[in-house]
Amino acid sequence: MAVDTPTRRQTERVAPELAVAKLDLRDIALLAAYEVLTEAEQHTYRAHYRRAVAFGQRMIDEHATAPDRPLPEIARLFFSFTWVFPNLGLAGPFFAGDTGPLEDAVLLAAREAIVSGVPARHDFHARLWEHICDPDRRAEAARFYVRHKPLHSFPPSAERRAIEHYCGRIDALMATAECMPALLATWAIERNPERLLDLSRNDVKDKHGLFEQRHMAPFLGMTPNTLTQSLRRLRLRFGEEMRLLWQIEKTDDYDGEQER
């Protein structure tokens, strides 16, 4: 009886969007965003594009399983899974589940990398930061985060008035503090640690678009450590609010006993 044992060659083959990761990032950008260029720009970069297509086709032939879509779509899929998806923590709260702006940001960053030579990752992060700082998106994120479960684990005996007071403070904190975009984004990143798991392969790890704290800090004009500490203190602040809620309640009980 014949046993279907995969050969070594077969086991090394990966999905096409992973095999594309072996290309240079500029080539991947060319493959993904060439259609977005204007005709004049396409004419300028036609030779680069053809070379990138040749490289990409060779990579697919050597390392990938059988593709069922053209190379540009595979490159865009690569960006989706290594640039858009890892930033899902950001996309969720700030974009209300709509990943369209992130996908657009990736393609625009790839386009700018071709045209102006700016590193695609820097341009992509700048676009992410632009979205994060948008007041409407920020309000959207605040609406998500005020529903964060640990913020609403009230003691069972807490009075409605005390809960309202606490929620009012959290409301004010989330909606009005100037530094909240940074903290919310950092929080969002930290809340989604799983996105790091898919980016550990050698071919991908230097080419992913993950927006990390150390990338976010320059946009704030600060060191990453300060951002981390601020987030830590923000959480402590929430804890302090909760503690105050408890204290007021306990004080009321104590005073009631004393007056009686």
């Binding site: 899929l77 820097h122 609406r143 909606a175 009321d252």
Partner: protein
């Protein structure tokens, strides 16, 4: 790596934005649902939209990249500060939250809470809010005119310069030696001068009082140091200096009054003594107003006028009168007159700012009912005592939904260990 294969990575058209994530509890949408949404195809409309977006956003994004210092060779690239104290996020949080803390709510808790501890806590928080210095605009209270601001600026500069009129450096060893000693030496000089005035030795007294004024102005220590033992015993050098200074002024006037009484000028003596007591009372009332939240520093012009008037009166008495103050000229009465006028100014100032603060606070509290004016911040300036800023504000949309989980207009309780609540 858990990536979907090419055949399954199609948008099926049934996914909606709401179904992507669990909107009710978890802010982060479901990753697997999002993966199914990935569609790498581009049509003509997508290309046109992206080209238009690229043209619109290019300059803005380039500025952001340059400002972040990610393009080192670009002009205007900002260097990331090593100590980014200017972007203190914690301070921003503190200011924002405490600014938005409703002052009238605190007043209500302070006044009407059944819990003494909560009343005490609210009083503490309110006091902190009252003393917090916040830069803000003043809508409810129009800002002072340019002329008034200019005068205030000049006044502030003169006050600082007068306070710093000293021959000592900060690091001078003489200053370190003289600082703890100075206030007691000056008080001793004033006491000796007062005693000599009472005894009729006017010339010597004038020399001592002149020496005191000169020493106080020229050898003023730059800043009293708060050493460990001073903190331990609760000794405040500023407070001691203030008491010594005002007590010395009162003592000199009392000595003058005693000398006038000994010289047979009973009415002058009574007037001088009354001025001494009145000046002391006015000063104490100003200082005590601090306990009510009014910060009224000593006016430089009051200090200068008292110094000049007291010294001038005693010197004039020394010139016109040989032995005793019986034959002193009426110029001697300048001292009690100036001290009395300064006392009236101090009392008026204290009363004015207390009344003003009461009016502003009541307006802030009343505005909470209408919702039109809300207290924004309370600005404390040293020159103006206390000012409440009011701002007009439209109603912000609430962050919390009106109704959640069918639990009525309030939040439902969620246990930490229970996912479903």
């Amino acid at each position: 790596m858990d990536l979907p294969h090419a055949t399954s990575a199609r948008r099926d058209g049934t996914e909606t934005a709401e179904s992507i994530g669990d909107q009710s509890d978890d802010p982060v949408p479901d990753a697997r649902a999002w993966r199914r949404q990935a569609d790498p195809r581009l049509d003509g409309r997508d290309v046109a939209r992206l080209q238009a977006a690229a043209g619109q956003s290019r300059e803005r994004i380039a500025q952001r990249v340059a400002a972040a210092g990610l393009v080192p060779d670009a002009e205007g690239a900002a260097r990331i500060p090593e100590l980014d104290a200017q972007r203190d996020l914690d301070a921003a949080l503190e200011v924002d939250v405490d600014t938005l803390q409703r002052i009238d709510g605190l007043h209500a808790r302070r006044m009407r809470s059944a819990s003494p501890r909560e009343r005490q806590h609210a009083t503490t928080v309110l006091a902190e809010a009252l003393h917090r210095i916040v830069d803000g605009y003043q809508v409810g209270d129009p800002p002072p005119s340019r002329l008034l601001r200019c005068l205030r600026s000049v006044d502030d500069r003169v006050r600082r310069a007068y306070g710093r009129l000293t021959v000592f450096d900060d690091q001078s060893p003489v200053a370190a030696w003289w600082e703890p000693l100075s206030r007691w030496v000056l008080l001793a000089l004033a006491t000796a001068g007062a005693a000599l005035l009472a005894g009729g030795y006017v010339v010597v007294a004038a020399v001592l009082i002149g020496t005191r004024v000169t020493l106080a102005a020229v050898t003023a220590p730059p800043a009293p140091s708060a050493s460990t033992w001073r903190r331990l015993i609760g000794y405040n050098p500023d407070w001691a200096s203030s008491v010594c200074s005002h007590a010395a002024d009162a003592l000199i006037l009392a000595g003058l009054a005693a000398g006038l009484h000994a010289g047979g000028r009973l009415s002058w003596a009574a007037l001088t003594m009354a001025a001494a007591l009145f000046g002391l009372l006015a000063t104490v009332s100003r200082i005590a107003a601090r306990e009510q939240g009014l910060r009224l520093p000593r006016l430089w012009i009051e200090r200068a006028a008292k110094d000049v008037a007291l010294t001038g009166a005693v010197v004039a008495a020394a010139i016109t009168a040989g032995h005793g103050l019986g034959s002193a000229s009426p110029v001697t009465l300048v001292a009690p007159a100036v001290v009395g006028a300064a006392g009236i100014v101090e009392l008026t100032r204290t009363a004015y700012y207390a009344r003003r603060r009461r009016r502003l606070l009541s307006r802030a509290a009343a505005s909470g009912d209408t919702g039109d004016l809300v207290p924004n911040a309370i600005v404390v300036t040293t020159g103006d005592a206390i000012v409440v800023n009011l701002r007009r504000s439209g109603r912000r949309p609430g962050i919390f939904p009106e109704r959640r989980g069918g639990g009525g207009p309030y939040l439902r309780m969620v246990r930490a260990d229970d996912d479903e609540g």
